[in-house]
Symmetry: D3
Subunit: 290 residues, 6 copies
């Protein structure tokens, strides 16, 4: 092999070389500056790509191969350290440009606050957007110790934008009392502790609607995802999360965009969480990009 | 904020500043000098407190907040390194003084042998005490290679003190043949492998009785608690252990004291076990301190 | 104790001092030179032995003790680094000599390719051999990027030698599309994702036949076995794997030899995987050596 | 020991129980939200205290014991996550209150930006303040990618406040070309690569003057301080840094306050860096608090 | 920023976007299949690139910036797992194509055997080539347990190709007795234990000659480079190695190509070794590419 | 290779198969039950042996090979967990039996208290014994919080047995004020901070005398030995320690026995400390066994 023909750079396996003929755009949002406990998710997208080399391109769950779809890994958005507002603006502009080209955005975090500007962009294009949210935490705070731009607030912001009745949270096992009460009072769906069974009941109600799916990796039990900022015991297994992704794929919901956030490599000593995340990304691509 | 008003020191979240108005006393027993395999649990209580900052004060399982109860974190008992007998005497005296004030003792180990002097103190106050014991190991040895003060013996000592018929072990999956036989011959209850289902059957029989609950974190599968001295495959999930704690909380049993032992931070590379332990402590406080 | 009476060397607990009166031979195959992703399993057998000191000799699952059977730990075969062919030849010769003496071979890997020469030796002695294969991966490739001696190929080679209809794979959740198709077209059994339930249905069909059982530790979910080369989310629990071993033990199948492969200590930060592997070895010995 | 007499909370060894009779105040500044590379120093002060239990109270270097001086560990300032400006304001107010009481402030970081408000407070009290700065990095940027509140800027801000000719940097081995040029053009002292020898030459020039000493732990070689955000090869040894602290202690400089910053426990796998930092804090207390 | 303008892929900081106008080509040789002890260096080049983001582009040692030179990071050569001969052939072809274009090859390993095909390519172009070799190990074996393609043999092969009198080894502190004797008998230079001082004496003798410099990261003491396959106590510091690189840069030697090998991320828990390697690569580029 | 000829067990490289024809006996003392800070050295001897496979048998420092001497690795003494007195008795009896056969004892710890019974045994045979002690800590306490059997006391006990004027400590940088004063008042030699230079001055005074050398691995700086219970900054390099061993080897001192203690694998994440210890053991064997 000649040096001037060699592959240069690191992308998710099976990424197309150019974005033009891709149906989906994979991108990273390396931001972790508002987290209240353990930072580190800024390095998540890079590590997920790096370990994707250990994956097969074929899914025996969906009987489909990565080469059957067309996606382009656009790399990480170069977000400015410590400046939440400018970071969120850049993300929104980035996703606007993906949607403008008619492509499916699949984002990798970063802290969960990154989902907020994505949802804003999605809502501009899809006014009847619904959100499926899998997470250990409610993320429904108005602010965190006075700070409205916080990793504890994105779902609240989203609910206020698109209407709480259009937000469906699953697997929640942590939050303030006030957050659960706000959801209840405002008609927002929260399934505590479980994901798969309540999801099966909700999906038919969303048939035909455009849906954004946001998955915080900490919906998994710490046994299945130690590499994240805020681990919380009592979560679901990776088997259940995979099945939930497939359940959505087989439903009549129209997934219009998605993200997977909060992978933090520094707590992920055997790269177990990053490997799991790369498999989840593969299944999300194969199941949701039609 | 002025320096002379600043918070100093490190305690479990939501601890009251003074013990006087507290109903429960949380304390650490940092001892690991008789363990036969991997030491390190002496640093367990300190790390559990440190990571408690990542917890919410509200439990969506029990719909109760830590501020709804009153507890005081009394810190660690300063046990003398390498001297088991003197350490056990200090623990007994410490718990005696808690019970004398009419408060609920909630201890954090340290190796499992620390439960022995606590049970002695409990039994002096509650002559009809029963014990609920969740563990991977029988801990029913008479001695360990000739040594009667060993982390393999506390439940045997307790059973001989309060009567084997008053001891109920759950989740056991490791022990010598002689230990299982001794339990059988002496009418002590052992549920092998499982916790939740057999517990549901035993709880009604203990209705109204004072019960001490001792939980060895290794009752959890190593996937859920890698940070302990003696990991043993085939254990229960953290979800099952949480549900078991809630089952006791909702029963007619009168929990009079409890402990959680054997968290060893040095094997807990992502602090997963310490985080799980801090959540278990929260649920034990919220569920058992009435 | 005098120095000239002291125990020297490190073997699996309860190994007999001499091979002559043993019914089973435990041995290591410390090879990892053909792996495509993360190497390190060459150190697996040594670490499994080292942590076996933390095990009890008694199994409460099978109510049997290691002293009830007679096995000899023959140490690791000194395989030549980086030379796959010579390594495989040495393994085959080693197992031939075990079978010649009428003993049960129980091997520890090392990468999965080490099973190939063992199966060749087994098949020479047992022409009607069947294989039970538990793994996350199909391992059915003809070659890996042109290389026929690869950790992705051993089951293909075995199937071609003994007939695909005599190979039964369980727990498979990763592979190329072509591999699944080849199995289907050639009558080889593959149970995707699950082990215990399909195994229960297959076992009666194998009653009375000599069977070789090969277990890749990555059939376990990464939560239960982070210490392996290629972790893959969505696997089974250690509880399910233990039960599967016991199910075989209680069936009418005649286990004639077995192995456990792919434990890689460098990714096993709390030695959780090695401890689990040492328990699995104990149960395989107690359940399968009659 | 009775529970109501037990020691509660975690402070640096030998801290006085009250601040009133202390000459020096030790405090933590747990902030890391502007770092550009690897965050995590927010947990530095807590870990330094925790490991101080492994220290002797006596220094054979200075022949002095911690009980010979009087200091109070005031704990960590509760800084708001992700809000640099409010954090800096709180630190300045905190240090103002220490200086108002006539006490010596000894701070533990956190990222290096925390030194900036401390220096502002110091300069209000000591208009002729000089700064001794030990670091791998110049920290002389005007902003970092447009952001003036960054961990790359504190020394620039300090130099502009007190005059570049009053700032003396040692051990510098990383920075932008513009930073080195700015220092040169503005009469600020930079000793590249070395600390001890150039320090010996500068100290006599500062005799009698009030000096603030700020030490970034990354002035040490990564071999001596792996647990920090931005490791940089080619640094000094801990032996050299200890001797430099002692050299200042024996000079005619009047140390009026100091800090030690950038210890990040998550990269400090054997707690080597935290242990070293706790020893440095002991020597700073014993050598500089007269 | 629009997605179709975003930076995609991961290269060493300041790499040019195209190879055509570059003077030097940086490339990775991700091979570790012949190592006798601890594998893992196949992931070295990727991690060195990843952490290069933490570097400044300016060297205060050489007063030069990465933008002052022109280099292109060509990525990793896709070497076939477990096939040493084919891997070596691919490397030789790759370097041939770099030299053919008149560019400076700077390689990153991978195990040390990768230097052998590079030296073959260099020697074809520079018949009077000399080699400067910094390493803990002699690497002068004829074979390793019968295998001539081994990480213990590259310097022997090189010495036999270009003449032992043209090979200069520094820092050597490990090897077989026969290797040291062979070097002595054949006029090859070996400086045991030290690098900088003997290097200063040798450099004038090589003035004007084309030299290939191969650096095994384990020439550093394990304190300075824990992340490598075979650590060996008693090595040099990173400060000494940096100075040695600068000494060559300032000499009259004509460096024609170079490599840095044996960085193994899996043993590099705080990424200290990878960070040091990325700084060494920067200094090699700035000092040796004229 | 046939299974019944295979090597079984794990010993230090180049150990003879039988003790009878050996001049030196290598043995482990796996005890850590009296340590006051971080336990774990009980696993030190096993790990030192395990990593010895990465060593060459030849020392380029001493120009001697392990096959030139005859030593036997007798394994670990099976010490009873948590029982200091019985452990010390077993060690003394073990070493008595080595000395009775006229062989050189080379011990591996384990905590430093294990040296005390060895010195008792040595003193019975060599009434004019002197001790060379390299350590970060004085180890001269009478007791530790009332406990006379503590890892802080062995040198005090030894000094009282053989006379303080016969004990020579080097590299000491930590201890209580009282310990340094006791040494001074009783004529015991302590070289603070340094080893090599003061050792050169002492060695001629000990010419011809039988000497026991006890090395605590923490005499090394934490950079060179992170894997130990009590790390302490400001120590010496492994290069200096190697040279000190060689200096003794070349002196007229008659080394009659030695030990290396306090290697604790659980804090030794890249096995750097264990590798260094195995090299030190090799040099001690090659330099001191004549």
């Amino acid at each position: 092999m000649r040096f001037d023909e060699a592959y240069s750079g690191k992308v998710f396996i099976a990424s197309r070389p150019n974005w033009e003929d891709a149906e989906a755009i994979l991108y990273g949002m390396p931001m972790d500056w508002t987290v209240s406990y353990r930072p580190g998710s800024r390095f998540g997208p890079a590590r997920i790509r790096e370990v994707s080399i250990g994956l097969e391109e074929y899914s025996p769950y969906l009987d489909r191969e990565l080469t059957d779809i067309r996606f382009f890994d656009a790399g990480d958005i170069p977000l400015p350290f410590g400046n939440p507002q400018r970071s969120l603006d850049m993300i929104e502009e980035f996703v606007d440009s993906i949607l403008e080209k008619g492509k499916f955005p699949l984002g990798m975090g970063g802290e969960h606050l990154v989902s907020w500007p994505v949802i804003k962009a999605m809502h501009k294009k899809y006014p009847d957007l619904a959100i499926i949210h899998m997470d250990a935490h409610t993320d429904l705070r108005v602010d965190y110790e006075g700070e409205p731009l916080s990793h504890s607030t994105p779902i609240r912001k989203a609910a206020e934008l698109i209407g709480p009745e259009n937000v469906f949270s699953f697997g929640i096992r942590s939050g303030m009392k006030e957050e659960f009460e706000w959801a209840k009072e405002n008609g927002m769906h929260i399934s505590k502790f479980e994901v798969l069974e309540p999801l099966k009941q909700i999906l038919p109600k969303l048939a035909g609607r455009p849906v954004y799916v946001t998955i915080d990796i900490d919906v998994l039990d710490p046994a299945h995802a130690p590499g994240t900022g805020t681990v919380d015991a009592g979560g679901i297994t990776s088997k259940e999360l995979l099945t939930s992704i497939h359940e959505i794929a087989r439903s009549d919901v129209k997934v219009a965009g998605a993200d997977l956030v909060e992978v933090a490599p520094v707590y992920d000593h055997s790269e177990q969480t990053a490997n799991t995340a790369s498999k989840l990304i593969r299944e999300m691509l194969l199941g949701w990009v039609k």
